[in-house]
């Protein structure tokens, strides 16, 4: 195997029936020297945070609505300033755009900006859209996946750690890595 091939990263996915087995796999992977950022738990149902001993997911989602609200307010104000400048209505020196009458639209603009940025934030922080990596439809039926991204030379270590935690199956992009006798139905 060339040096460049051994440096290439690959994803393995272990499938487990029980949350305890998945947590055990995470511990074994950590023990084998894999970092927290390389390990992901995949499930069809949300589990309480820390159920698998995984790291606390840091995020900045709360910043997005504030940024969006500021942008939305700015756009709404600009729209009204534009209307004030552009409308050739004779109003005897009174403003075309009176403050009490525009508060509603400023408010809606602010809230719309906040919501849209929050949605962008959700997608960004969830790392979506994403080409699905190694995945198995059995996860939808309740199996729990433990995914690990490892350099090619460390793949055997990762596979051993995943299998020893009572894996139902271990998959790579090319298919199952477990021998047919070892893989549970």
């Amino acid at each position: 195997m060339s040096a460049s091939n051994s440096d290439r990263k690959r994803e393995l996915l272990g499938l487990y029936n029980e949350p305890d087995d998945a947590a055990d796999a995470v511990s074994r992977l950590r023990g084998a020297g894999f970092g927290g950022n390389d390990i992901e738990i995949i499930s069809a149902t949300p589990y309480p945070e820390g159920a698998f001993g995984e790291q606390h997911a840091k995020h900045r989602l709360f910043a997005f609505p504030f940024a969006g609200a500021a942008c939305g307010l700015a756009v709404a104000i600009a729209w009204h300033i534009g209307a004030q400048i552009a409308l050739p209505i004779v109003t005897g020196g009174k403003p075309v755009v009176a403050v009490p009458a525009i508060i509603q639209v400023l408010y809606e603009g602010t809230m719309l900006g906040a919501v849209l940025f929050t949605v962008l934030g959700v997608l960004f922080e969830s790392r979506l859209p994403d080409g699905v990596g190694v995945y198995d439809d059995r996860i939808a039926d309740g199996l729990i996946g433990v995914s690990v991204i490892a350099r090619e030379r460390r793949i055997p270590d990762a596979q051993i750690a995943l299998e020893e935690a009572n894996a139902v199956d271990v998959l790579s992009k090319d298919g199952s890595l477990m021998r047919p006798a070892a893989a549970s139905p």
């Binding site: 992901e40 738990i41 995949i42 499930s43 069809a44 149902t45 949300p46 589990y47 309480p48 945070e49 698998f52 995984e54 997911a57 995020h59 989602l61 709360f62 609505p65 009204h80 209307a83 552009a86 409308l87 050739p88 209505i89 075309v96 755009v97 009176a98 009458a101 525009i102 509603q104 639209v105 408010y107 809606e108 603009g109 809230m111 719309l112 906040a114 919501v115 849209l116 929050t118 949605v119 959700v122 997608l123 922080e125 969830s126 790392r127 979506l128 859209p129 994403d130 080409g131 699905v132 990596g133 995945y135 439809d137 996860i139 939808a140 039926d141 309740g142 995914s147």
Partner: protein
């Protein structure tokens, strides 16, 4: 909750996606019927564009009729989604899980339907464009930013966009589930694209939970603003019976009353039509009925305030309007029916546990509420306009025409068809949310009793 959802995950997946992947015969019959009614509505709309508003029963001085009444009504129904979904999500009420998606979807389609009524009301739909967009600068035609005609679309557009985004973000895990379960390669590709590659990593689930709470908190103020602004369509005028400071909270609570009732109606229909008996239980409608008792009573309080403020100032035009509403035919009969169906029968019945836990009686009472609430909007809109001002020389009564009834039927069909098609294409119950509830649920022993103990998510 005494009746937890206890089906295993495989059964939950199968039952929740069953309607998406199957084609029952009644689906074709129902969509065909709804399609025929919608087509009738489109024909009436076409005739309206050719012949104008003479097709409606307007008579001077009444130029606001069924379209405006229905606009307010459907905006009100649209408040169901956010009331049920966002408030219960923020309150972390466990029983919300099977209810939220249907409520949000009802919001989307009733809001989209409501948006069509101002366009129909104008009689010349293309003219509504320059109320909103300054496209005709050369002729000096401008939108008036001080007008409710600008506030309303701004609020409704914000609410609709936010609700669609809210539903879509919450749908991602279920779209991924549909992607994994569907056999058809085209379906797999479509669900795959829509799910954006959602896999269900711990990070994605955590962001989902936070997003649910964050978006709920953001949409709630929008929900309040939308119906407040709808009420200001009336309250910022000087029409007797409309010019009232209590209108905003009165409209909002009325919207919640009719909206949550509509959610109960829809849930009961879903339970039988989509085979969701394992997921929509007596506890759900019991909980919603208790909520409705409070909501209905607060709404009655605001109705009484509106009445009292109308009389307290002894303004002759205002007193005349109330006299017309309550003491003159046909308004007396309408007022009696609306109070009986909107409050007395349903709330009186919901005080009994046996009614709250009976699907048929809950269906009937919640339908009655919406009949009452529709009549309430009719009573708000029309009598205020039916008055002789100083310079009113021509005076007639408003009598809704067959065309208006046809449009109402078509719009109702549109909401039902929208809901049905959504349910056919996408899971109408949040499968991941329901299964999460099962994971987090456990029982603890207190003395000799075993009671449900639930860990909160997020």
């Amino acid at each position: 909750m005494q009746e937890p959802v206890t089906v295993d995950r495989e059964t939950a997946n199968r039952e929740l996606l069953d309607f998406v992947f199957s084609w029952p015969k009644w689906f074709f019959a129902t969509t065909g019927l709804l399609g025929a009614v919608i087509t009738l509505g489109l024909i009436i709309f076409l005739l309206l564009m050719i012949f104008g508003l003479q097709l409606f029963g307007y008579a001077h001085p009444v130029y606001w009729g069924f379209p405006v009444v229905n606009f307010v009504f459907w905006i009100g129904v649209s408040h169901a989604g956010i009331m049920v979904s966002a408030i219960l999500r923020l309150a972390q009420a466990e029983w919300r899980r099977p209810v939220t998606r249907a409520a949000e979807v009802l919001t989307i389609f009733s809001l989209m339907t409501a948006m069509t009524f101002p366009i129909i009301h104008s009689g010349r739909p293309w003219r509504t464009l320059y109320w909103e967009f300054p496209y005709d600068w050369m002729r000096g035609i401008w939108p008036n930013p001080r007008s409710p005609l600008v506030w309303d679309p701004a609020a409704i557009f914000t609410y609709l966009t936010s609700t669609v985004m809210f539903v879509y973000i919450a749908l991602l895990p279920d779209l991924a589930l549909a992607r994994d379960r569907v056999k058809n390669p085209i379906g797999k590709a479509v669900y795959g694209v829509l799910s954006l590659g959602f896999r269900g990593t711990t990070r994605q689930w955590r962001i989902q939970a936070i997003a649910g709470i964050l978006l709920s908190a953001l949409i709630l103020p929008i929900f309040v603003s939308v119906h407040s602004i709808v009420s200001w369509d009336f309250a910022v005028t000087i029409i007797p019976g409309w010019h009232n400071t209590v209108f905003a909270p009165y409209f909002v609570i009325g919207a919640v009353h009719s909206g949550v009732s509509a959610v109960v109606t829809v849930m009961i229909v879903m339970r039988y039509a989509f085979g969701l008996k394992n997921f929509i239980t007596k506890d759900h409608i019991d909980s919603l009925a208790r909520l409705l008792i409070i909501v209905a009573t607060v709404w009655l309080f605001f109705f009484m305030l509106d009445f009292m403020f109308g009389l307290y100032g002894t303004e002759p035009a205002e007193v005349d309007t109330w006299q017309r509403r309550l003491m003159e035919p046909p308004w007396t009969a309408i007022a009696i029916i609306f109070i009986i169906t909107g409050y007395i029968i349903p709330v009186g019945a919901w005080l009994f546990r046996s009614v709250r836990r009976n699907f048929f009686l809950m269906f009937v009472t919640t339908v009655l509420v919406n009949i009452g609430m529709w009549l309430e909007r009719y009573m708000i809109v029309i009598p205020g306009l039916e008055r002789k001002s100083n310079l009113t020389f021509q005076y007639g009564d408003y009598l809704p025409s067959a065309a208006e009834f046809g449009i109402i039927a078509a719009q109702l069909a549109l909401v039902i068809a929208g809901f049905l098609v959504f349910s056919k294409l996408l899971p109408i119950m949040p499968a991941a949310d329901i299964k999460e509830g099962q994971i987090l649920r456990d029982e603890i022993k207190v003395g000799r009793a075993r009671v449900p103990a639930t860990m909160r998510e997020a």
